[in-house]
Amino acid sequence: MQSGKNNMLLVELLIVLLFFALSQAIVVQVFARAQQVNHAAELLSRTLSTAENAAEVLAISDDPAEALQQLGFTAADGAYVLAVQDEYALNASILRTAQPAGILTTVLLEGQRAEETLFTLPACQYREVTAP
């Protein structure tokens, strides 16, 4: 009878361990998913913060190309690229539109993850042009 009780205890312990291992396999995946989501949100915030900083600098600069290079952007195929972290990067393209009395310079700052565009931030500046 004592050995019967011992056998029952062993079987129960085995079942408990098996169930514990199965449940923890799921719980660990949930924790890992939460960590991934947090990391992605942090990188998105960091990319946005970098784009905002660039937009504020561009709003007061006379030469957007020079300002972008001073911010760490590298020129590539007519555009400017700044790697933020992992697959996140900022692309900047300068558009100059002639207005009747001045020049409207728009720098489009695109936040990208791999090939996906996450957001587009326009940094626009209008400058009067005085006649000679």
Binding site: A34, V37, A41, E52, A101, C124, E128
Partner: protein, 164 residues
């Protein structure tokens, strides 16, 4: 003779302990995932509001360019407030309001119950042709006397560049 007492784990105690541990870890993991999702939603909301603000600022610059074009077209002439208002209305700048002292003001919607208020003074016969005095982000949801975010430009507007 004293009998030696043996202590044994009863059947069922390990099961109860396992159930408690699994339940607590499951609750922790679900709370962690919920917190991460909330953090992500907050980041995306912040992203949307920031993009809306900069689009409003870009629209404000385009409006200033249109105003400057009208000022340049009629430079050197002395007009009253009503005359300038009719000139602006003819150029499609119907939401630009003027005072007798030739100060202008307009607002651009910045989304999420906010507006970007731009104010300045017209100086059509001098360079530059206008000067900005106010560039504020106001929230219509919270009506306060002081603006929530004051983004005033420098006291003097940038001097126009020479035509290349």
């Amino acid at each position: 003779m004293r009998q030696k007492t043996e202590y044994r784990v009863g059947v069922g105690a390990s099961s109860i302990l396992m159930i408690l541990v699994v339940l607590s870890l499951t609750a922790l993991s679900l709370l962690s995932l919920s917190s991460a999702r909330n953090n992500q939603a907050l980041s995306e909301r912040n992203l949307g509001m920031t993009v809306q603000y900069y689009e409003a600022a870009a629209n404000a610059q385009r409006k200033l360019a249109a105003m400057d074009a009208a000022l340049e077209k009629h430079a050197g002439t002395l007009f009253s407030r009503a005359a300038w208002q009719s000139i602006f209305d003819a150029e499609g700048l119907t939401d630009v309001s003027l005072t007798d002292e030739l100060t202008f003001a307009f607002t651009v919607d910045a989304g999420a119950g906010r507006t970007l208020a731009v104010e300045g003074t017209l100086t059509p016969n001098t360079q530059p042709r206008y000067r900005l005095t106010c560039h504020e982000l106001r929230s219509s949801a919270l009506q306060t006397e002081q603006p929530l975010l004051l983004l005033t430009p420098p006291t003097t507007a940038p001097v126009g560049q020479t035509n290349p």
